[in-house]
């Protein structure tokens, strides 16, 4: 009986192994199964990234498909996903913005909770800075340090030599955009992330960059998301009114010296929400998105009633003004589930060029000598 059982075991095991071995042939693919981009122009590579425009593609939240598209107007080339090409790994989850400091690029990876520091020469990773709380924007203070806003808790101080977080400025709330004025950094503060707009305390924090301390604050409209400075050193703040359309959106003009709001422009429809406040290089014209692209001289007494560029069914998502030419760069994120498009328009709103980008193009970053 026992002997019999034993022979049965071996007979059955041999049979099973035979089947297992026979299917070994079919399993040759040793390459890891990972997401692949099959964009036709994907084979292109640029020799250098020192002169050009970076389109920062946010990618979908939790899909890990953020990327950077490089535009070189001079040679008329578009290169997709340059971080992956240079570093053989994907960029991360939700690329919020990119800022250049010296010859390094700082990519703020919101949901990866890190800043990827790349060399502009070859876009190779120099450092990955961890220890942030959903970073949003980075603004250079001087050649030594920069401030990074976070979705939660604090503003991080980055040492630009060592590329490490050297300190934090506690804020207890979501800080969004920031701009330098004199020795101060003005930071928009939205309130606690999960609070309804009614409870949120929206303000502009005034930080002394010499002491890294919050020295003052200015009350603002709900959800101040954009901040720019004009040629007369007036600060403009764009408030969305709250994600829940709590109040009408507004555009504020602030005197940063007196730290008072000088003028409030209120948008007529609380559900038509403006975003992406920009200033042209000469500091006399404001741009923002509200469906289409709007243009407004800083001297204007009222908000423009018509857009300079109509959206025509596009979902305009990112906007920036070329620092040398004043060209308007605007992106269409479509429905977030396909590649976007970037458009270059003249100051007068005439279409110059268009480019395919990656998923959800959200912001543009220009190199110092980025071609016209």
């Amino acid at each position: 009986m026992k002997k019999n059982t034993f022979s049965h075991i071996s007979a059955f095991t041999i049979l099973c192994s035979f089947f297992a071995l026979s299917i070994l042939y079919t399993s040759c693919s040793k390459e890891p199964i990972r997401e692949k981009i099959i964009t036709p122009e994907d084979t292109l590579k640029a020799t250098t990234y020192e002169n050009g425009i970076f389109v920062v593609n946010e990618g979908n939240y939790n899909w890990g498909n953020a990327s950077v598209t490089f535009l070189d107007n001079k040679s008329n080339t578009v290169v997709q996903d340059i971080f992956n090409k240079s570093n053989n790994r994907s960029l991360g989850d939700v690329a919020e913005s990119m800022t250049i400091a010296g010859n390094l690029g700082y990519l703020l990876m919101n949901n990866s909770n890190r800043i990827e520091v790349v060399s502009l020469k070859d876009f190779k990773s120099v450092k990955s800075i961890d220890g942030l709380h959903s970073p949003r924007y980075l603004q250079v203070v001087d050649s030594n340090k920069a401030y990074t806003t976070n979705l939660q808790n604090s503003i991080s101080i980055i040492n630009l030599h060592t590329n490490t977080v050297t300190g934090t400025i506690e804020t207890t709330s979501w800080t969004e955009n920031l701009i330098r004025y004199d020795k101060y950094m003005l930071v928009t503060s939205i309130g606690s992330f999960n609070e309804p707009s009614a409870v949120r305390k929206a303000q502009i924090l005034v930080i002394d960059t010499e002491t890294d301390a919050i020295v003052d604050s200015i009350q603002s409209g709900k959800e101040p998301i954009g901040i720019v400075i004009d040629k007369k050193q007036k600060v403009w703040v764009l408030c969305s009114g709250g994600y829940d359309n709590f109040e009408a959106p507004s555009l504020l003009r602030i005197n940063p010296e007196l730290r008072i709001i000088e003028k409030v422009f209120t948008f007529p429809d609380p559900r038509a929400v403006p975003s992406r406040l920009c200033m042209n290089p000469s500091g006399d014209t404001i741009y923002y998105l509200k469906g289409g692209v709007y243009q407004m001289p800083v001297t204007s007494a009222e908000l423009p009633s018509k857009p300079l560029i109509n959206a025509d069914g596009r979902l305009f998502y990112g906007l920036n003004i070329h620092p040398a030419t004043g060209s308007i760069y605007v992106s269409d994120a479509k429905d977030y589930v396909q590649n976007g498009t970037a458009y270059q328009y003249s100051v007068r709103g005439k279409l110059i060029k268009e480019y395919t980008t990656g998923r959800i193009p959200g912001s543009f970053c220009f190199t110092k000598n980025s071609s016209k």
Partner: protein, 655 residues
């Protein structure tokens, strides 16, 4: 590591307790011939004639029985379906979200029922298949496409019905199973069935705990371990069946389940401060009465589905709870007194109640459905059925839902049948789609679907004989209009709103081929499913939209699975092979998750010792250690193992 050791110790002591408990149960002396393990839990009334069935003349249905479930007792519904059916399951990883795509449709278009009551959440309109343990039901039926209209509206893909049935011949049965798997995963199952000729009680208990800290290759090519992926899952059900003179059948069933899950980060999240958790509690209860006469019968059913869900996210400071219950009632009457004609009218009444932190106030919905099914045989070879459904939702009629099916059997001696059906269907928006705070859209229209289907089934040889073959072929074309899609709101920077945007055309071919062979004392079985599905966007949102004619994202065009089993000398061996074709990750089809195939094997032996059957089983999953992701940035485990010990006792069974 200290923590994980502690957890393990605690789990082990819990297991020891269950083992002790089961042994004390088994000590009852009884005399009966012990049977094969499969028979111990197979249910005679759940008769297996053919897996491929043409339901109600012209509608496709597939049955899966306990023969498949017994070796897969430690699995969940998502694994069973992805390995053994033509339904595609989009899985985010072991123990985390798994949603179906049935015939190229969305997760909301597949309805899951448990003993005829709807388990889909009225909030989400879908079901997480990873939360349904196989051990809690005895068999399942898949109703394809328009076949689902006989159950509910809105299931454009179809209906999956989880069935539990009594075995009137049973006197006392018990099964205790314990699995120990890689990555500190433990699963315990206990089934107790007892009763007599007119009364049966069935108790099922399942408990799973998993640390789930499997290694994977991360973004930089280094090996990392999955974080924050542990979970526990437990369930207890009690079913009572009472029969009076084969005329009156009463049943009462109650099923409580609780899931505590940590939700793991993606491979692209690098933070130490975030934790995401999801707790679910669900209580389902159903009472049913059936009156059976030769020419007519009556069914009355009332059920409650009560669920509680709590989601936390430390990073986004979310701590939200959702509580809902659905009160589901059904009356069905069936009359077949006139030869060649059967009429089945009925009424369903459902009341949904939701109290969610993400809604403004309590939301409710009442749905009354008037239903009629008319089955008419033109000749013994040509049969037809017409299903009519009229839903009244919160006092408003949605348009009539009709389905017409035809069946033709050309030969007397050859088991070949052709079937065809056409239908119109509507899906009413879910409560989230209507009422989610700052996003819900009360102006949504119901989605509309037209579908056309033709197919044939063939089977050869009686099942118990040396050779049995069955084949099924179905082709379908389905048009979905006004499909509800969550789209980004302009200027909001990340806010989404549901809108009637997409038009989808889904068409495909499903092939099934099953073979059974008994030779040289071996029992061989081979089951194959191939599925071809083109599900495409057919309406652009603007001139700049680049999705027309492209495959829906995360729905593969090709899927194939094959299961080879053999049995001899009480050994059993199963090899399951699954091929999942390319899944695009964008509507422009310019990025893709490459195709992959997985092999899983099960190898086991049963021992008969008097009234007991002991079974030892080894599972090897991902046999060839494929480094893969099914959903982008969601890691999957490499080769992993499970050892299962099953002890069954069957006494006093009346055969």
């Amino acid at each position: 590591m200290i923590l994980s050791d502690k957890v393990t110790t605690r789990i082990l002591s819990k297991k020891a307790f269950f083992l002790l408990l089961s042994i004390s149960f088994l000590a009852i002396p009884v005399s009966s011939k012990a049977q094969n393990l499969r028979d111990t839990l197979s249910l005679p009334e759940f008769e297996i004639k053919s897996s491929f069935i043409i339901d109600n003349h012209g509608f496709k249905r597939v049955k899966m029985d306990s023969g498949l479930f017994i070796p897969n007792l430690n699995a969940d519904l998502s694994a069973i379906l992805s390995q053994h059916s033509s339904i595609f399951i989009k899985s985010y990883g072991n123990g985390t979200l798994a949603t179906p795509s049935f015939r190229g449709t969305s997760a909301q278009h597949t309805q899951v029922e448990w003993n005829g009551i709807n388990l889909n959440s009225p909030m989400l309109g879908q079901m997480d298949f990873s939360q349904v343990p196989v051990a809690q039901f005895d068999g399942l039926e898949i109703l394809y496409g328009a076949a689902g209209i006989s159950r509910t509206s809105g299931a454009f893909g179809g209906v999956i019905d989880l069935v539990t049935k009594p075995d009137w011949n049973n006197r006392f049965k018990i099964l205790v199973a314990q699995s120990m798997a890689s990555f500190n995963n433990y699963i315990t199952n206990i089934n107790v069935a007892l009763g007599g000729r007119s009364f049966q009680s069935h108790t099922k208990f399942n408990y799973a705990s998993a640390l789930n800290d499997f290694p994977f290759t991360n973004n930089t090519g280094d090996v990392a371990h999955q974080q924050n992926a542990s979970y526990t899952q437990s369930g207890l059900s009690q079913e009572l069946f009472w029969k009076v003179k084969d005329k009156h059948l009463f049943s009462g069933k109650i099923w409580y389940s609780q899931d505590d899950r940590n939700l793991p980060p993606t491979t692209q999240n690098f933070d130490s401060i975030k934790t995401e958790t999801l707790k679910d509690k669900a209580l389902r209860a159903v009472v049913e009465y059936k009156y059976i006469e030769p020419k007519w019968n009556l069914l009355v059913r009332s059920a409650l589905n009560d669920q509680y869900m709590k989601y936390t996210n430390s990073l986004l400071e979310i701590n939200s709870t959702h509580q809902f219950y659905s009160w589901i009632n059904r009356i069905r009457f069936s009359y077949s007194g006139i030869p060649g004609l059967a009429v089945k009218p009925g009424v369903d009444f459902t009341y949904d109640w939701v109290d969610s932190d993400e809604y403004e106030g309590i939301k409710t919905r009442t749905t009354t459905s008037f239903f009629a099914e008319i089955i008419y045989d033109f000749t013994p070879r040509v049969k037809s059925s017409l299903v009519l459904r009229e839903d009244l939702i919160d006092g408003k009629f949605i348009p009539l839902i009709p389905a017409l099916g035809l069946e033709y059997k050309p030969f007397n001696k050859i088991n070949l049948a052709f079937s065809s059906n056409l239908a119109r269907n509507y899906r009413y928006p879910t409560l989230n789609e209507l009422y989610w705070k700052d996003a819900g859209n009360p102006d949504l229209k119901p989605e509309m679907n037209y579908s056309l289907e033709a197919g044939s089934t063939y089977h050869f040889g009686p099942k118990k004989n040396q050779f049995y073959l069955e084949a099924s072929l179905a082709a379908y074309y389905s048009w979905i209009y006004d499909m509800i899609t969550w789209s980004p709101v302009d200027g909001s920077g990340g806010l989404f709103k549901p809108e009637n945007i997409d038009e989808i055309h889904a068409r495909g071919i499903e092939l099934g081929l099953n073979l059974n062979l008994t030779a040289w004392g071996f029992a061989f079985e081979l089951r194959n499913n191939y599925n071809f599905c083109r599900s495409t966007y057919e309406k652009a949102s603007s001139a700049y939209d680049n999705k027309i004619g492209h495959q829906q994202f995360y729905i593969p065009v090709n899927t194939f699975n094959s299961t080879f089993s053999m049995e001899r000398w009480k050994f059993y061996f199963t090899w399951n092979f699954t091929y999942t074709g390319d899944r695009y990750t964008g509507k422009d089809n310019l990025s893709v998750m490459p195709a992959y195939h997985l092999s899983n094997i099960i190898f086991g032996k049963t021992f008969d010792v008097k009234h007991f059957i002991l079974s030892l089983q080894l599972d090897i999953n991902n046999l060839f250690n494929l480094d893969y992701q099914s959903v982008a940035s969601r890691p999957m485990p490499g080769i992993n193992y499970a050892i299962t010990v099953k002890l069954a006792f069957s006494g006093l069974s009346r055969r």
